[in-house]
Amino acid sequence: MLTQQLVNGIVVGSVYALIALGYTLVYGILQLINFAHGEIYMMGAYVGIAVLGVLAAMGLTQQSLALSILLVFLVPMVYCAAYGVTLERVAYRPLRQAPRLSPLISAIGMSIFLQNYVQVAQGARDKAFPNLLSLGSFEVMGAHVSGLQVFILAAALAMMAGLQLFIHRTRLGRAMRATAQDRTMAALVGVDVNRVIAVTFAIGSVLAAVAGVMVGMYYGLVNHYIGFVAGIKAFTAAVLGGIGNVTGALVGGFLLALLESFWAGYVSAVYKDVFAFLVLVVVLIFRPEGILGGSTEVDRA
């Protein structure tokens, strides 16, 4: 039981962490909570289903599983990146100089809009995410571990490592850190701040798309509402770790999912979400800066 909850928690945690990174990266640069971020994740899952449908119709899922899996991730990544960049352009950039409440309201508005847009376009019923990977399962210390769980964790860790490399080893990553620390000064050394902000939204959206496809694969069902709950959970994770802090998003994501998993296993599965939000409330009251907080810089990685 203990190891089983641990396994479940780690898998869900990798998804929370991926989504939480998007919140924290944007917050680090704009001090804005992008409440529409959960919707980008939800759309990633839907695009994944659409891609799978097309691939199955073409017979490609039979011919090349590896290529199919690649496309099931890649197409939603590109699609969601475009959505994230457009979102910033349309809903946030015009409000860059406005009081902080305005972009926040705009974000909530975009969240509601995207949710309803998907509901109208895709229908309100749950959609099945076709099973692509039959990886079997095995036992580890009494816990049931599926190949899909291992795949999800591995893919999530690869994305996180890639992000760290980007932030710390590339010129654009350095510009991102500089912009998070002092936007005006970054502009004064020649950084095109609007471009850096667009890239930040693109990266966050790519991570969310990957998370969306993973969750689709994991639970096998998707609806237009999944972005709301996952969004608030990931936001909680980001706050728990210290919003604006990349490592904090990872720590917060895994920690929240583990707490939730143990709560579901030992106390009450029904009150799992209530418990997660209780964590948010407690953190906001007693340690609003989060576990690794104190700074809002993308750099503290």
Partner: protein
């Protein structure tokens, strides 16, 4: 080289720059003095493209640059050392300097300029792996100047480089600025410390509440009773 003509700027409803006109000839040191809130920093931010001016023109080498975004203005050869240094606190000293060369693609030359900055301010070399935020005020000022130099500017804008520094450090900073001037880089300096400014500049402008009220060579301004009373404390 740099020319401002009848520049107006508003902070909301406050008319912060009320028709500023001035010139910085190539390779010269021009200083803008004036009391707190006169609009000196605002003038520099307008040149750098951070503030969009409401009226007038800013020209660099004959070409209008107002309306260009800050990164384009850096690309043209104007770098700013802003008020308060604005070091990237969590980047290392080396990363801060590399950020200064953000737009440059000539890696070899960047490497050479890095050595130059280190020879100008050896302490930066010692501290190159330290985070910028851990440096002392004087070291941060050196880093801010070094960072601006890494763009290899033809015109350097400096906002109060002496602010909050001990006299010995002020001397060190201005010694370095003297060497930068010798290499032909134009300097447009904003200072509250009129003693230092008058000793360093080729030409001085005096600013009061958003307007240029007087200008001339330093010797002439030093003789002006108004300047002596208001800015030299005599």
């Amino acid at each position: 080289m740099l020319e401002l003509e009848d520049v107006h700027f508003y902070y909301g409803r406050i008319h912060a720059l009320q028709g500023v006109s001035l010139k910085v000839p190539a390779g010269r040191v021009v200083c803008l003095i004036g009391s707190n809130g006169a609009g000196k920093s605002t003038t520099l931010m307008a040149v750098s493209g951070v503030h969009a001016i409401a009226r007038g023109a800013v020209r660099f080498e004959g070409r209008p640059i107002h309306g260009l975004p800050p990164d384009q203005i850096v690309r043209l050869g104007i770098s700013q050392v802003p008020e308060g240094r604005r070091i990237f606190p969590l980047l290392t000293v080396l990363e801060n300097l590399e950020m200064g060369a953000y737009l440059r693609r000539d890696a070899g030359e960047v490497e050479r300029d890095l050595d130059q900055v280190y020879s100008l301010f050896p302490v930066l070399h010692e501290r190159r792996r330290q985070r910028g935020g851990t440096l002392s005020g004087g070291e941060q000022q050196m880093l801010a100047i070094g960072r601006a130099l890494m763009a290899r500017p033809r015109l350097l804008l400096l906002d109060e480089p002496s602010l909050g520094l001990a006299p010995m450090l002020v001397e060190a900073i201005f010694g370095a600025l003297g060497r930068i001037r010798e290499q032909g880089t134009g300097i447009f300096l904003v200072e509250q410390n009129a003693h230092v400014a008058l000793g360093f500049a080729d030409w001085v402008y005096v600013m009061e509440t958003g307007r240029i009220v007087m200008d001339g060579p330093p010797e002439e301004l030093r003789r002006s009773p108004a300047v002596r009373e208001a800015y030299l404390g005599e």
